[in-house]
């Protein structure tokens, strides 16, 4: 009983440390100008001011930024799921020349940080006319070795008899992939989709380099503009941050199981 109380006490203290800073930001987002700078600071605003959220939307088109982020994230997720599940099929199920080499080449891309190659990547996008476009933000992140590896492992756990039966019935490899492997690998695809979504929604450095026009900014880049322009008026910055975290909270609450089980089952993203 005592042991239980101590553990719950520790867990509650950690919670305060993890959630406290968020609550302080929410509180700031609800305050009027004078109260933001009040000393000593009060956690609960004397007067709740929702006007800050309206004001910040007028300062910068946060709705447009959020829509841009959503479009980019959804397409990135779709591309990753499609390309990884296609590429994983022959690696898990077929024998062909150069298979080992191709698998190693794919894994080797995990060793090359995006930060190392961002200059030539910029030049590639310049040559292909992808600068300042959503395609330029999406394409370099449209597939990754982690996803291919994850799905190859998962296909390995699906009984081969199912493919064989489908082949005897005259199914082409493409149909076997689409009608046998893809439906059965839904849990792995969901894990990949959720992690790709969060990665893409949070992505900062590459969109910062590629996107130039304010109308094409993603939410993180738009918010960084808000920080650099309105640092002195932090209630707006805080209001912007609160608005930006709402979609993340919704996705998290809906997909919590996929997230946590994805991580607990050991499919770790390196």
């Amino acid at each position: 009983m005592v042991r239980r109380a101590i553990i719950i006490g520790c867990l509650a203290c950690i919670s305060l440390f993890m959630v406290g800073p968020f609550l302080w930001t929410v509180s700031t987002a609800l305050k009027g100008s004078e109260e933001v700078f009040a000393y000593p600071p009060n956690l609960i605003p004397k007067e709740i001011r929702l006007q800050n959220f309206v004001d910040v939307m007028e300062l910068l088109p946060l709705g447009t930024f959020a829509l841009n982020s959503l479009i980019i994230s959804v397409i990135t997720v779709a591309a990753n799921v499609l390309l990884a599940s296609l590429a994983a099929y022959p690696l898990a199920r077929m024998e062909f020349r150069g298979k080992r080499l191709m698998f190693l080449a794919i894994l080797s891309t995990m060793m090359i940080p995006e930060q190392v190659i961002m200059i030539p990547l910029y030049r590639v996008c310049l040559e292909l006319g992808l600068l300042n476009t959503f395609a330029g933000v999406i394409l370099p992140f449209s597939v990754n070795a982690f996803g291919i590896f994850l799905l190859r492992q998962f296909y390995g756990s699906i009984p081969r008899d199912l493919d064989d039966a489908a082949r005897i019935d005259g199914c082409s490899p493409l149909r076997i992939w689409w009608e046998v492997l893809v439906p059965l690998s839904r849990p792995a695809l969901a894990t990949l989709a959720v992690f790709t979504f969060i990665g893409s929604w949070s992505n900062f450095l590459w969109p910062l380099i590629v996107l130039r026009d304010t109308e094409s900014f993603t939410l993180p880049i738009g918010l960084s503009l808000l920080v650099s322009t309105f640092s002195a008026n932090y209630k707006f910055v805080a209001a912007g941050a609160v608005l930006a975290i709402i979609p993340v909270l919704v996705v998290f609450l809906l997909m919590q199981r996929t997230f946590i089980h994805g991580l607990l089952s050991g499919s770790v993203k390196a």
């Binding site: 553990i7 520790c10 867990l11 919670s15 993890m18 959630v19 800073p21 302080w24 930001t25 700078f37 000593p40 600071p41 390309l83 296609l86 590429a87 022959p90 690696l91 077929m94 298979k99 794919i106 060793m111 090359i112 940080p113 930060q115 190392v116 190659i117 961002m118 200059i119 030539p120 590639v124 394409l139 370099p140 597939v143 291919i148 490899p173 992939w177 929604w201 949070s202 900062f204 450095l205 910062l208 380099i209 993180p220 918010l223 920080v227 650099s228 910055v237 805080a238 941050a241 930006a244 975290i245 993340v248 998290f252 997230f259 946590i260 991580l263 607990l264 050991g266 770790v268 390196a270």
Partner: protein, 282 residues
């Protein structure tokens, strides 16, 4: 099955890798031996870019800061391992806490940066308020404007955001330890501390190694939190990637920045190699 079939399935992903990973990897090496800018003609300069950066005090300071940044790894391991032990006690309600701690991990760094920049505010921030009220500091601390405290502050943010994520990885490792081991030790009269020290921690070594590698490499690549929280501080107080970004995209010295990229790659590579070897020998 036709001979071309497997290659056709691999084709779309391979094309992306060739254009957006393999070609740029070769190009960054090529650029690092050239004087490249968007306007002037590209010329071969041999090792000149490398000589320039390795004799540049600002670059060396940024390099030193990147190594200092690696200190987040042991802190992250201790804190997230401790959190994982607490979450593994099987007490009711741990699932709720587990989800709560994961929140900073999925929050975009821009939001985390905004949240903490406000906590660190030197005039009206909560941290200075607490520091003064508790008597830990007599005057306002310069969390974000004095070196090396500004770098340490940003490192604290990296740790804060990472704890929930790495705690879950450790929790996965703990759940994989057979329960019989613990039960057998308990029958032999081992205390809770002894079971932790002699069973769980040794069994978790591969997971600790994994977390050490992942978080060290992430530390060497850090950009977002520095760019967001201490954008105005001198380059000599920042780390490698922000300096690389500045050199390439604001100063347009592409050859020099490419040489920095190659140096970063070599450090990351050496780091993952030595880290893996060290833990294999243990």
């Amino acid at each position: 099955m036709r001979r071309a079939t497997p290659y056709l399935f691999l084709l779309p992903a391979s094309m992306i890798f060739v254009v957006f990973v393999f070609y740029p990897s070769v190009d960054v090496l090529w650029m690092s031996f050239h004087n490249v800018s968007f306007t002037a003609k590209t010329t071969w300069v041999g090792l000149e870019n490398y000589r320039r950066i390795l004799t540049d005090d600002t670059f060396l300071a940024a390099l030193k800061n990147s190594f200092l940044y690696l200190a987040v790894t042991p802190v992250l391991i201790v804190l997230s391992l401790g959190t994982a032990f607490l979450l593994d006690t099987g007490i009711r309600g741990t699932k709720f806490f587990r989800a709560l701690y994961f929140l900073p991990a999925i929050t975009p760094m821009i939001v985390v940066g905004i949240v903490w920049k406000w906590m660190f505010n030197e005039d009206v921030g909560v941290l200075n308020y607490l520091a003064r009220e508790t008597g830990l500091a007599s005057s306002n601390l310069h969390w974000l404007s004095s070196y090396p405290l500004n770098l340490l502050s940003v490192m604290a943010v990296t740790v804060w955001k990472g704890i929930g994520y790495y705690a879950l990885i450790f929790l996965a490792g703990l759940l994989a330890i057979p329960k019989e081991l613990d039960e057998a030790a308990m029958l032999d009269g081992a205390s809770a501390w002894q079971r932790l020290r002699y069973i769980r921690i040794p069994m978790l070594k591969p997971t600790i190694a994994l977390v050490a590698v992942i978080s060290s490499i992430a530390a060497l690549k850090v950009f977002d939190e520095i760019y967001i929280i201490i954008p105005g501080s001198p380059q000599s107080e920042q780390t490698l990637v922000p300096f690389l970004y500045q050199t390439a995209f604001l100063d347009f010295r592409l050859g020099i920045a490419s040489a920095m990229g190659v140096v970063l790659f070599l450090i990351v590579l050496a780091f993952s190699y030595f880290n893996v070897r060290f833990w294999r020998e243990q």
